[in-house]
């Protein structure tokens, strides 16, 4: 019998190397998968990882698109990472993302056609607020009644999706949409449109905010008392009490920050790349962000890289689909492998395999 034994001190080098080993293992296993499907595995891996960055024909477009695709994932993942470090499990970022888009976007629709430089800052605040308040529901229920925040935040995703559907088939339905359940297109409303700041760079306001959040998140985590507090809360609830951390404050802060960032991500997405509110707006970014958070070791810089890597597999995956006819499902399996190998390698970094000599059941 084999059993896992905790290593007294996981190697620091290994902790940093884990994601790289996981990516390499994914390339190997994914390559085998593609080969079994009858595709050239080297070409496939090249198209997924290399072409979006360096292919002459598409890269000038796809490089900036990596930022566009990754921005909401990174923004949300950094918010989530604080809570995950402190054992506060916000699984409902998707719902907060939706509410940010609905509240912020709805504010813009209500103001239409008022053109003013104040509109955009206002809807940003409303978007963040929408996500924040939605996350406060699980926070308050947790603090007041000790309700499990995993369940509450997850269930609220479905409530948010229904709320969105009600809004776009009702009050937020576009008056010029021929009866279709979509809102007015934000690119028709200059003051609220989250446009590209420099053409063909993909840089929109949300990308800038994301970069700022990476920096601020890094400072918070490493240099600020709040970073210390959440790390202590995650390691030992008892120790954190001795250190003077109020667990209720930690819950409220962690859910509040992740909710607000998810709301911002939703607002930037709906007023920019998505362009309008519709029932098709939620695409599971809030769930993908959980993967990104762990792939990035719950560290802002790691999350930045992990978000870009996820975006790369999406965009490269699309290229691989139409250039090599690799089915979408195979690309999803490939993305799944990434998380699987990361968690697998992670276990081996923190634990070692031991032959169990004292096993009772074996004899």
């Amino acid at each position: 019998m084999l059993r896992l034994e905790a290593r007294p001190e996981p190697s620091r080098a290994m902790v940093i190397l884990t994601p790289i080993i996981a990516v390499v293992a994914t390339m190997i296993a994914g390559g085998i998968l593609f080969a079994i499907l009858g595709n050239n595995p080297f070409t496939a891996i090249r198209i997924i990882f290399w072409d979006p960055l360096f292919n002459d024909m598409v890269a000038s477009y796809t490089r900036p698109q990596l930022l566009v695709k990754a921005a909401p994932l990174i923004l949300m993942a950094i918010g989530l990472s604080f809570g995950f470090r402190a054992n506060v499990w916000n699984i409902g970022a998707e719902g907060q993302f939706i509410m940010g888009a609905v509240i912020g976007g709805g504010t813009a629709l209500a103001l239409y056609p008022l053109e003013s430089p104040l509109v955009f800052p206002l809807i940003i605040i409303m978007g963040g607020l929408g996500g924040f308040l939605w996350a406060m529901i699980p926070a308050i229920l947790k603090i007041r009644f000790n309700a499990n925040e995993i369940l509450v935040s997850l269930m609220l995703v479905y409530v948010a999706a229904q709320f969105l559907a009600a809004m776009v088939t009702g009050p937020m339905k576009s008056p010029v949409g021929m009866g279709f359940p979509v809102s007015r297109n934000f690119n028709e409303y200059q003051s609220a449109f989250n446009a590209e700041l420099l053409s063909n760079t993909g840089l929109h306001f949300g990308v800038l905010v994301m970069m700022a959040v990476v920096v601020v998140g890094y400072i918070f985590l490493t240099r600020h008392i709040f970073g210390f507090q959440i790390r202590v809360s995650g390691q030992s609830a008892r120790a954190s009490k001795f250190a003077g951390v109020n667990p209720h404050t930690t819950v409220a802060l962690c859910l509040g920050i992740s909710g607000a960032l998810a709301g911002l991500a939703g607002l930037f997405e709906v007023t920019g790349p998505a362009g309008k509110l519709s029932t098709n707006f939620p695409l599971g970014y809030g769930f993908t962000a959980i993967i990104v958070a762990f792939l990035g070791r719950l560290h802002p810089v790691g999350i930045l890289l992990a978000g870009l890597l996820m975006a790369l597999t999406y965009i490269g995956g699309e290229l691989a689909q139409f250039q090599m006819s690799i089915p979408a499902a195979a690309i999803q399996v490939f993305q799944g492998m990434l998380l699987f190998f990361l968690l697998g390698v992670d276990i081996l970094v923190n634990f070692r395999l031991r032959r169990d000599t004292k096993s009772k059941e074996a004899h």
Binding site: N40, V58, Q323
Partner: protein, 358 residues
């Protein structure tokens, strides 16, 4: 061994091939699909159209596709990548790709776009759709005859004109042969989600529906119907013949192949122009799948007769007198609906007891 050979050969090719994959003289045609071709419904038929192009035009063309593309910024990116990598004709086969098609088309004036079921056009953007409502009239006719509970269930996707038009058309045809008939409508808010579609079918069966129609893309409702005695349904978008003779008793087939081949040919001839196409049973874009023995012979005959008359233009699926649901007059005796009203249809006809979600 084969695997190792593939790997070795692959390594050899990959090292010298960067970029070469894009070099093409053939006409490259890209397809953007909302679901997988394996849905055996909507996307399956578009993929049949794609294959028909390859078959008809052989090595003059090369077709590619991306499946499961959400109706979001992702679709814009996929179409841009296609345009950048040398595709000259791009078919976008779901309604909400519309604004994204327009955005990409603006950036690539040399690339032609074909958008299914939309209404926005440009010099390099055509739209096309089928008069599905003619098929709905035929299956409505069958359903009116076949229902024993006088309750027909309808799995609707989104409350958009195309779907509302189908419900109205099916209802009018069913009511014409069975005045007692009632419609129950469930809105799934999805085009393709086998789980939700199956739930919707079950909900309708529980509410007493014994004939079920669907305006969603998967065969999941069929699988559910099969589990129950005496429930029948119709293949949607594709024949879904694997469920014949029961529960699938007939079907509405979207036959895109002739249109797709014609458009690709026009590109090769240099005669492609922006057009708006809306074809029905007459042109063969809508076909009625084989009616099985589960339908009595005389009903099969009358349904076929209706299909023939719709094709010849002798009958229009919306012929007055028809009132709107609120009782106000819409079409007078003998008057037929104009395409403009049909294209923007946002009301139920009189007699349907459901409400359009709002």
């Amino acid at each position: 061994m084969n695997l190792i050979k593939t790997l070795l050969a692959g390594a050899a090719v990959a090292t010298g091939l960067a970029g070469a994959a894009f070099a093409q003289d053939k006409l490259k045609i890209g397809f953007v699909y909302i679901g997988p071709p394996g849905d055996m419904g909507w996307t399956y038929e578009h993929d049949q159209g794609r294959k028909a192009i390859e078959e008809a035009l052989g090595d003059k063309v090369e077709t590619t596709y991306v499946e499961n593309v959400p109706e979001s910024a992702d679709s814009e990116r996929v179409m841009t990548q296609m345009a950048l990598s040398g595709h000259k004709l791009i078919f976008a086969t779901s309604f909400n790709y519309m604004d994204h098609v327009m955005n990409v088309a603006k950036k690539f004036p040399d690339v032609k776009f074909e958008h299914a079921t939309g209404y926005k056009r440009a010099d390099n953007v055509s739209t096309y759709s089928a008069r599905f409502y003619e098929g709905r009239a035929v299956i409505g006719h069958i359903a009116g005859h076949m229902t024993k509970t006088n309750t027909i269930g309808y799995i609707a996707s989104y409350p958009i004109p195309e779907v509302i038009r189908g419900i109205n058309s099916a209802y009018l045809a069913a009511k014409a042969v069975n005045p007692e008939v009632k419609f129950k409508v469930v809105w799934a808010y999805t085009w393709f989600d086998p789980g939700k579609e199956a739930d919707a079918a079950n909900a309708l069966i529980e509410q007493g529906a014994d004939v079920i129609m669907q305006h969603t893309d998967s065969t999941a409702p069929m699988s559910e119907m099969k589990k129950h005695e005496g429930i029948i349904g119709f293949g949607q978008a594709s024949d879904m013949g694997q469920f014949a003779p029961n529960p699938r008793v007939s079907s509405i087939i979207d036959n895109w192949a002739p249109y797709y081949v014609a458009r690709a040919q026009a590109m090769l001839d240099g005669t492609w122009e922006s057009t708006d196409t809306w074809h029905g049973i007459k042109e063969g874009m809508v076909k009625i799948g084989e009616m099985t023995e589960a339908i009595p012979a005389e009903v099969r005959a009358s349904a076929q007769e209706l299909a023939d008359k719709l094709a010849s233009g002798e009958v229009h699926a919306f012929t007055g007198p028809i009132n709107k649901q609120d009782g106000s007059a819409w079409l007078a005796e003998g008057e037929t609906a104009d395409d403009g009203t049909l294209a923007g249809m946002d009301f139920y006809v009189e007699g349907i007891e459901a409400e359009i979600p709002n």
